[in-house]
Every structure is written in structure tokens, then in C-alpha cells.
Symmetry: C2
Subunit: 249 residues, 2 copies
Amino acid sequence: MTYCAGILVDDGLVMIADTRTNAGIDDISTYRKLHIFEWPGDRALALCSAGNLSVSQGTISLLREGVRNPETGELETLETAPTMFRAAQLVGWAVRKMVTDMKPALDEAGIDSGASFLFGGQIRGGPPDLYLVYGQGNFIQCSEDIHFLQIGEHKYGKPILDRAVTADLDLYDAVKLGLISFDSTIRSNLAVGAPLDVCVIRRDVLAVEARHRVEADEPYFRELMDRWSSALREALQSVAPPPYGPHRG
Amino acid sequence: MTYCAGILVDDGLVMIADTRTNAGIDDISTYRKLHIFEWPGDRALALCSAGNLSVSQGTISLLREGVRNPETGELETLETAPTMFRAAQLVGWAVRKMVTDMKPALDEAGIDSGASFLFGGQIRGGPPDLYLVYGQGNFIQCSEDIHFLQIGEHKYGKPILDRAVTADLDLYDAVKLGLISFDSTIRSNLAVGAPLDVCVIRRDVLAVEARHRVEADEPYFRELMDRWSSALREALQSVAPPPYGPHRG
């Protein structure tokens, strides 16, 4: 299992991914799932993967080598894509090729060849953008109504993002919210685990502003969670009790 | 789909259930899933159900009529069970009988006969207790480490309970938390919906202290959610920004 989340606000983009992979519950490893493609001053891109590890690693290798445009036959790369939309198409073509190549053999063995990606960033001349690319190569993007996207084990971490992510959110408040969303998930699903990789791309900087690996025992991460739990308890007590039961009337 | 949650704290028990049932997304109805069995001064019991509606309704009817003890052949009821453990066994026997009777025909039609229950309350002479009874008739109970149990669509609503439910929680703070947990779920899964049924059983009262149906537009419910969202935003800003990025040093 995996959990990755991307948050796109007015000020830019935050991407966070866990690093746990498992084949069963007794074969657990740490693999990087957040990959950065950066040409400072021109573009800063981040890609998070979930699903079959061979498919997602192969997709990333293809993207580094160049992906063949299915219409022109030309090799294209993330470095030369003129827009975020074209870059997202490249991710889609790459994963489609990997799945097509590997699916017959994996199907025979009863192994799921599914993979999905969060792909975000900014290319000079266009706005920051965030996409969810499916294993079939199609993709959706953040909109004026939806300011975050998730892949993998998304349910535990969704309510906090639903309640608190707005377009005007500070970029590092988005990092805090993302970390809380991950903590909610890690507490409930053993197949999602630290360390976590965090990447921050501020609007119009065209470079990665922060990249950081959060270890499970990092003091800031632990303090954030302790303070958050205290703040929740205080918030709870600040709301009036329900008007049914002994408090009524 | 369904979501039901039970919270067992030192002061007593809170049970909440939604009322939405669906066969597909175009056949949605409202059915009560929280059932109260009360003999004031002697016992107060509450049962929430998830899963196949015919199985869960049949189980509740059997419990009202009396369930045959598989060892003695005697009819036993929730009114006469001497302990919460025996009462939970009755729930288990009843659901086991319903599933056994109905499974062959349902299997033929490809219909899931699964059902599960939250069963809680207090019987004179014993402490309050809360059980999760599976469709196979076996059950687990709350412990000194776990103060809540859930059935149905449980993931969205679990993190808030994980973070904030403690044994010393006020009974009506538990109601508030339960409602927040339901709101988190309702926002994300159309198959869980208001109205919600709430039941509060205070320790050693041996009667239901509060029973209430929360409609989607109830002013208290709406205000609780608005205040909660504001409190989260304030809590977020009260925590220091991460020591990576432009805030470092």
C-alpha cells in the first residue's frame, strides 16, 4: 500500500509521499515514491507513485529516458514539454506503455499491474498545476473547487483535507495539514509508513523551495502531532454541548 | 452502505448510526439502524446494524421474540440475559441463525448475506460494555486500550476518534466527537447519510439518558460543524511552521 497527497493552493504546490512498500505483511521495504524533476528557472516538477512498484519505477525510468509520442513517433521528455498538460500526457503515455508491456505476464501470475501517479509542478509561462494520472494513461486535474488530490490509501487522511484546505491556505500550513493527514493514515494502516518525503514548489519560483525527508521520530513531526491532539481537545470543549440530554432547556 | 460508531468511556456509552440504505446508487431509503431495548432500573441496551438489511432486521426480530440457546434449547431474551456477555452471545446466536437460514438462497442470487452489529449497554450488577458482533456470531469488545468500535464505512470517521477518544472523555463530548466522525464520513460517501440516530446510556443509570434523531439541517449539528472547521483552522495556525523551507534558521 501507499499514500500520496498533493495540495495545490494559490501560493503553489505541496506534495507528500510515504516510502513503505509491501508484498504481503512480512515483506516490507522502503522505496522513494516522490521524484523531483527540476530545471531551476524553467520548471520544477514532482511525481508521486502508487501501485505495482515495477510498473511505477519503469514509468519513471521511461520519463527520464524520453517517451515516444504515439502520434508523431518522436521522443519527448519532461525537460522539453512546453506545458504542464503535455507533461501530464507524457506521464500517461509512459505508464500506459509500461502497463501494456507487463500486464500479460503479471496477469498470468495473478499480480495486479495497476499504478497511479500524482504529477504536479510549474513550467515557465504557465500556472502551477496538479494532476492524478491513472494506469490507463488518462488523467484528471485540480479545479477551482478541489484543491487536493490523493492516491493509494486515501480515506483516513481525507477528512482533514476536506475541512481545512482552501485556495488561500499558506503553503507551509498546507505542509502541516498534509503531515496530519499522513499521521491519520499511518496510525490506521500498517502498509503506510514513515519516512515521508515532502516537496514544496512555490508559484513562479520555478524551482523546488523545500525538499525534506521526515523520519518517524523527527522532533517537529512529533510536536506537530502532540499539539494537534491538544488543539482538537480544546476545540471540542469550546463547542456547546448538544441541546438534548441533561443540558437541554 | 452504513456507518455506526459506539464510544465507551468511564461515564457510559454513546451509540450513533446513520439511516441510509441503498441497493445500487438509484435505490436509496431511510431505515432505522439503531435499536433500543430498555427496562428502566434493570437494563438499557442499544444495537446498531450494518450489512444485509433482511438479515439485520430478521436478527432484531429474533431478539425480540427470543433466541434458542444452541446448548440447552431454551428460548432466551435480552430482557432475561444475566450479563452483557450473555446478551452479546444472544445477538451472535440470532445473527448466526439468520445468516444460516438465508445464505443458500442469497448466494444463489449473488447477494451478500453479511451483517455485523455494535451492541452496547449495561445490565444491573455489571459494568457498561460495548461489543462488535460479526455475522458468524463471534464478537470482540472494547478494552482498556480501545474505547470505540465502528461498523460499515469506518475509515473516514476513524482518525478523529483515534486522536480524541479517551476513557475520561465527557459523555456529551463523546456525542460531539461522534457527530464530527459522521460528518467526515457523510461528506465522502453518498451511501452514508442523515438523519442520524443518537443514544446515550450513562453508567449506573440503567436507562437511556438521551435519544435523539439528528436531521441534516438541524441547527446544532450545522453549528457544531462550522465551529469545528473554524477551530481546526485556528489550531493549524497555532502550530509553528516546519523547520525546513524559508522558516528555518
